[in-house]
């Protein structure tokens, strides 16, 4: 099929860039179309939403030669968990600031979770299998997963099959007890989702996060030197040196479909049409299929699945400016990811209000910080802040949230409140408006067992191929989902290349 390009990537988020780079590297003529004037999606801009430490998956790192394009990681970032009983430092399997017994239990727990997430990790780097008519490749994928779980040995396998669908609350209660240490794990298990620590399924989200963001080993999240901007820049370079074109301020209005039921290109909002036999969308499943493609190209059942997909974002982003650091917070502390939740109970309580579309009185918070010309700027994430807030989000609601976050931080870090010179809140609805994120959900849709693997984004469309031939989903709404691994983009590009773009 002839056209302007071999492939169009809609959206220059990190997954879109990874997909574009992989396609370009394979010799495809690629254009990336980005709505906003800057690239990077949640990683873009001077204070990117995704300010937390993360790692592009090692397979992509080497596959795209990101090191050559300047991407370097610092040491794995440690976590500091404050509030409640005290101050706990977490460095991989090592916990400091807790009793010796608890530290030992935590080390056991961490190693155990690392093993289990390792067994799952194999599933992340390929398209999920389909369950139909015994397709050999798919059976093989399933068999491999079975074998890798079996490979853990009998005791581990039993334990993994027991805890895999249970909740992080029970797990921590059994292994380490509640407190700041458990709170940090609870934050890892729930951040970005509409789930509290007591919700069954949170062990799986924890394992999943460990498996997909393991740039420095399972669960060890490293900060790229230069921050998010460095990741974006490396991905852009990887794409551009292979010949991909990146156009910003080029919002796509719709995906074009021909009479033979094939996606053949896109129309931009300015009316310009660009054609290519492969379209990869980094937009959310709902935006891609219901807005850009349109329900007229979908079966009613798939439309219903998309309508019912859980996409209620629950995290608000706060930028806090401080003239100087308070007494309770040192510059050295700010080299950590700092969790301020106290214990799991607090995280669960913060979730209670959100279930009813209300703001929690005491949110659970984590933050990182950096030095600016005028002092310090903290990038904080507060949960749970539901996008479907009763009465909608307003300036007053944001102020209320900012106040409660500052109060939480002030409670854990003496003198904190007095140092604040400015606060800016980005609610989930702001994220939706700015980035086209359905429901303001980071992961483009809840990461839960019923929206994972062969059910992401929904059963029958989980292999990156969307119902219209030639259209692929390459964002976090596809397997393996959210966080900054780049795997959905990588896998989707692989699938598109495999299909040859001319089925």
């Amino acid at each position: 099929m002839s056209g302007d390009f071999d492939a169009i990537v809609i959206g220059a988020g990190h997954n879109g860039l990874v997909a574009a780079a992989r396609l370009a590297k394979e010799g495809k003529r690629v254009v990336v179309l980005e709505t906003s004037p800057v690239v990077g999606g949640l990683l873009g801009g001077s204070d990117p939403v995704a300010a937390m430490p993360f790692g592009i998956h090692p397979k992509i790192h080497s596959g795209l030669g990101l090191a050559r394009h300047g991407l370097r990681y610092g040491a794995p970032m440690k976590t500091l968990s404050l509030g409640g009983e005290g101050r706990v430092e977490i460095d991989g399997a090592v916990a400091r600031g807790v009793s010796q017994a608890m530290a030992a239990n935590y080390a056991d727990l961490h190693r155990k979770l690392a093993r289990y997430s390792g067994a799952l990790a194999r599933m992340l780097t390929k398209a999920p299998p389909r369950f139909r008519d015994g397709v050999v490749g798919d059976m093989l994928t399933m068999a491999q997963l079975g074998l890798s779980i079996r490979g853990l040995g009998k005791a581990d396998m039993r334990d993994m099959l027991r805890i895999i669908l249970s909740n992080v609350w029970d797990l921590c209660e059994d292994e380490i007890g509640d407190g700041p240490l458990a709170a940090a794990l609870a934050m890892d298990a729930t951040l970005g989702g509409g789930i509290g620590p007591r919700s069954p399924g949170t062990v799986l989200t924890l394992l999943y996060r460990m498996a997909s963001t393991g740039s420095g080993g399972a669960g060890q999240r490293s900060t790229p030197v230069g921050g998010a901007a460095a990741v974006v820049s490396a991905l852009v370079k990887a794409a551009e040196t292979s010949g991909a074109a990146i156009r910003t301020s080029a919002p796509v209005a719709r995906i074009l479909v021909d009479d033979n039921d094939r996606a053949i290109g896109v129309a931009l909002e300015n009316g310009e049409e660009i054609r290519a036999p492969l379209i990869l969308s980094n937009a959310t499943p709902r935006r891609t299929l219901l807005d850009l493609l349109g329900p007229q190209h979908l079966n009613a059942e798939d439309v219903a699945r998309l309508r019912h997909m859980a996409t209620n974002g629950m995290v608000a982003r706060l930028d806090l400016d401080l003239a100087e650091l308070p007494a309770g917070l040192t510059e050295a502390d700010l080299a950590h990811r700092i969790v301020v939740a106290g214990d799991m109970r607090q995280v669960e309580r913060a979730f209670n209000a959100a279930k009813y579309g209300e703001l929690p009185a005491v949110p659970a918070v984590e933050f990182t910080g950096r030095k600016t010309e005028n002092g310090w700027r903290l990038a904080a994430l507060a949960q749970f802040a539901p996008s479907d807030l009763k009465g909608g989000w307003s300036k007053a609601k944001k102020d209320r949230l900012a106040k409660s976050v500052i109060k939480v931080l002030d409670g854990a870090i003496p003198g904190f409140g007095g140092k604040i010179t400015g606060a800016e809140v980005r609610s989930p609805t702001d994220l939706e408006a700015t980035y086209g994120l359905t429901g303001g959900h980071w992961h483009h849709g809840e990461l839960r067992i019923d929206q994972m693997l062969m059910m992401r984004p929904f059963a029958g469309a989980a292999q990156y191929r969307m119902p219209v031939a030639g259209l692929y989903l390459c964002g976090a709404g596809a397997h393996p989902g959210g966080d900054i691994s780049g795997l959905p983009g990588w896998n989707a590009a692989g699938q598109a290349i495999k299909d040859g773009g001319a089925q």
Binding site: Q296, L298, N299, A300, E301, G460
Partner: protein, 401 residues
């Protein structure tokens, strides 16, 4: 708690009465009633055979008020109906009716029905199963309003060779020009009636739809005028005989809707049911299109066949055998056809039987003779549907008899 609370009555249980109930009740000597979609519908009024012969010889009134009815109205009405149905609805002009089926995402049939195009932007859909949620699902994202009008429209089928003459007696001039599947808005007894030249009998006939408050006046006028030409009220049993002869299928009897099947492998495609003539790919995407395109090229695993059976005993609930030994299918509807003098039935047969392997097929019929059961093997022949359709069904202008 509000002390002045007035209790809300419970929803009525069981069957309700349609607007025609009184009239049917007066003639229902057997007092045989069936539950059709929550309404009392006559099974037999006096004798099924006589009611059946009235369809083929005179004129009959059959209450279709319980049928599920939906109105689809709005700028996108055509687009939504075209997206739902397997036929090309863009070709259906206002004032025309079409027989339609619709499918799920896997190409399995959800239901069949008759689609009335009332205007550019309004359709009425009549069918057997409740479909409001399905229509709303299909219409999601489109500018259209779908409402259930089952209880807001009454109607009866007026079927048989003397129906046109009766309508002429009532001075319905539209009768002369109405072709099969035409709709007209007329007045009978001063009441507004939507009349269509449609039916479930394979014979000359009409369906009349009106507001419930006008229902009795219209019924009475037609019934009275029909008396000169032998009009009578009929029940489900007589209609069932006519519909089998006429080649029509009944959901829940001959196939099961893919929205109600409990066992996943019970849903059926148009290719299996033999309704592939209703599927066209020369139109934009419609529900199930991609699956149907895949299915169109392959031989179905099983198929519904019209069969003819030796001798005269109807093969109700019979199993079908190959070489009298291997079980290869079963009968869904069966009838000794009094008009054609053929022993007819519909049967599901597993491939390749009926498709390639057409010989040496048998049905196993159990006959009760004064308590005792007898088993008979009768020979099966694959034949074409319908078993019977009279030319007068479509002749325009219609003949008087």
């Amino acid at each position: 708690m509000n002390k002045a609370l007035t209790p809300r009555p419970q929803m009525p249980m069981g069957v309700l009465k349609t607007p025609f109930h009184e009239r049917m009740d007066a003639e229902n000597f057997q007092q045989s009633w069936m539950n059709w979609n929550g309404y009392a519908s006559p099974g037999v009024l006096d004798t099924a055979e006589f009611e059946y012969f009235a369809i083929r010889n005179q004129a009959t009134l059959f209450d279709i008020s319980p049928m599920c009815k939906f109105r689809i109205k709005g700028p996108d009405a055509e687009a939504v109906m075209n997206r739902m149905m397997t036929r090309d609805i863009r070709k259906q002009k206002p004032g025309r009716v079409s027989y339609v089926i619709w499918c799920d995402e896997d190409g399995n049939v959800v239901d069949d029905g008759t689609l009335f195009r009332r205007s550019e932007d309004e359709f009425l859909l009549f069918c057997q199963e409740p479909q409001l949620l399905w229509i709303k699902d299909v219409a999601w994202g489109f500018d259209v309003e779908a409402t259930e009008v089952t209880h807001d429209l009454a109607g009866f089928a007026f079927q048989g060779p003397t129906t046109a003459a009766t309508l002429r007696d009532l001075k319905i001039r539209d009768v002369e020009e109405m072709r099969a599947f035409d709709i007209r808005d007329i007045k009978i007894a001063g009441k507004r009636v939507m009349i269509s030249r449609t039916g479930f009998t394979g014979d000359l006939g009409y369906e009349l739809v009106m507001a419930p408050k006008d229902a009795l006046a219209v019924w009475d006028a037609v019934y009275a005028a029909g008396q000169r030409r032998g009009a009578r009220i009929i029940g489900n049993e007589a209609l069932e005989m006519a519909r089998i002869e006429a080649g029509f299928l009944l959901p829940r009897v001959d196939f099961i809707s893919s929205q109600t099947n409990l066992r996943v492998n019970r849903a059926r495609t148009p290719y299996e049911i033999g309704l592939d003539w209703l599927v066209t790919f020369d139109k934009p995407h419609f529900n199930g299109k991609r699956a149907l395109q895949r299915l169109a090229g392959v031989a179905p695993k099983r198929k519904l066949f019209a069969i003819e059976i030796s001798r005269d005993k109807a093969a109700h609930h019979a199993l079908v055998y190959h070489r009298k030994t291997r079980e290869v299918g079963f009968v869904t509807s069966a009838l000794w056809s009094a008009t054609t003098k053929r022993n007819i039935a519909y049967a599901w047969l597993e491939a390749p039987f009926g498709q390639i392997e057409k010989d040496d097929l048998w049905v196993e019929i159990y006959l009760q003779r004064e308590i005792e059961w007898q088993r008979r093997m009768e020979r099966v022949q694959i034949v074409e549907r319908p078993f019977f359709v009279h030319k007068r069904r479509t002749a325009t202008p219609p003949l008087n008899f």
